[in-house]
Subunit: 201 residues, 2 copies
């Protein structure tokens, strides 16, 4: 089907979505072509609209409306506005905000240190982070990164550059997830939970 170039282009574009391989992209494209409820136009419109209306906050990096920049989370009064929570992606900000467990400000690095993928400190929003600590009178930086090697390296790096700046550096706790039991936990989770044990009040 060499002559169906618009279809090939659509498959290629869909294939650039995260987790979508060529086969899935082909299946999606075929569904879209066969659809009679205007799904192609709906999706195209939603993409254009989002592209116009949604942006990343220039301060925290989180997702916001283009006309609200800096975003609501950066502007509105927050109980713990002197605590800055450092995350990897804008999506992480949403997750933590939805959890309701944090009342401070956010800062998305837009990545983590990864020699394998060629991501160095200059590719992350570290300068902005340092600027904000001074400008906003931040007293504590809470590092909310995952447990993989790259997250650990990024956390160590941040700890190192933040230490001279008279700011407390903390990292979210690792341990048993809510609703879990010792019986179902892996060794790595258990040892992290033990080394991170907290004295009972």
């Amino acid at each position: 089907m060499n002559h169906l170039i618009p279809l090939d282009n659509l498959v290629a574009a869909l294939g650039r979505l995260p987790g979508i391989g060529r086969r899935t992209a082909e299946r999606m494209a075929m569904t879209l072509v066969q659809d009679r409820k205007g799904l192609m136009r709906l999706l195209s419109h939603a993409l254009l609209e989002a592209d116009d209306a949604v942006a990343c906050c220039e301060r925290c990096g989180g997702v916001t409306l283009a006309e609200e920049n800096p975003c609501e989370l950066c502007i509105k009064p927050r109980l713990d506005a002197q605590i800055l929570c450092v995350v990897e992606t804008p999506g992480d900000i949403m997750k933590i905000e939805q959890s309701g467990g944090f009342q401070g400000r956010y800062h998305a690095l837009m990545g983590k240190l990864s020699p394998m993928q060629g991501t160095g400190a200059a590719d992350l929003r570290v300068d902005k982070l340092l600027g904000r600590i001074a400008d906003e009178g931040i007293r504590e930086v809470l590092i909310a990164l995952g447990t993989d090697v790259e997250s650990d390296a990024t956390a160590s790096y941040l700890k190192e550059i933040l230490t001279p700046r008279q700011v407390k550096v903390s990292r979210i706790a690792f341990g048993l997830p809510a609703g879990s039991a010792i019986e179902y936990s892996d060794a790595s989770t258990l040892s992290r939970a033990i080394s991170g044990r907290q004295e009972m009040g």
Copy 2:
């Protein structure tokens, strides 16, 4: 994040793609928002272009360019133009055509009989199929449907309505897939392969 309606709309539209649940749609939307290489506009454009340029052939139901209708496969001389291969979807036509194993014409039903999903004979392109058998002097109808219950029911139904029309009705063979071995075949495949055994020449 109730105020990010364009993002919610995008998640909803992506969630209508086949095999994409809410979580995956959210992840895709976040990737698109963070992307700085114009992926949203590229995808939007590819969708609009495909929507304008690609259509289903009014004769066989296969995918074609809007300006080539009926499609190339329906128009061009074919070695076995008197054999009509009946499939479920336009994608099936592509798959069989890519296999190079068939030189006749195609006809996509756009579904199969499914009481569960409320798909009856009137929802399939059966009238068109009967018309084509007469118009194009078809001598054999080759049913290329799968092995599930609905495909079997659809095949039986077609056999029944085609029998009075003096046309040979065949169905693709079921058996061991290429490269497979008895050892790795399931019972159902083996019994189909045995009942469908062919005399060696």
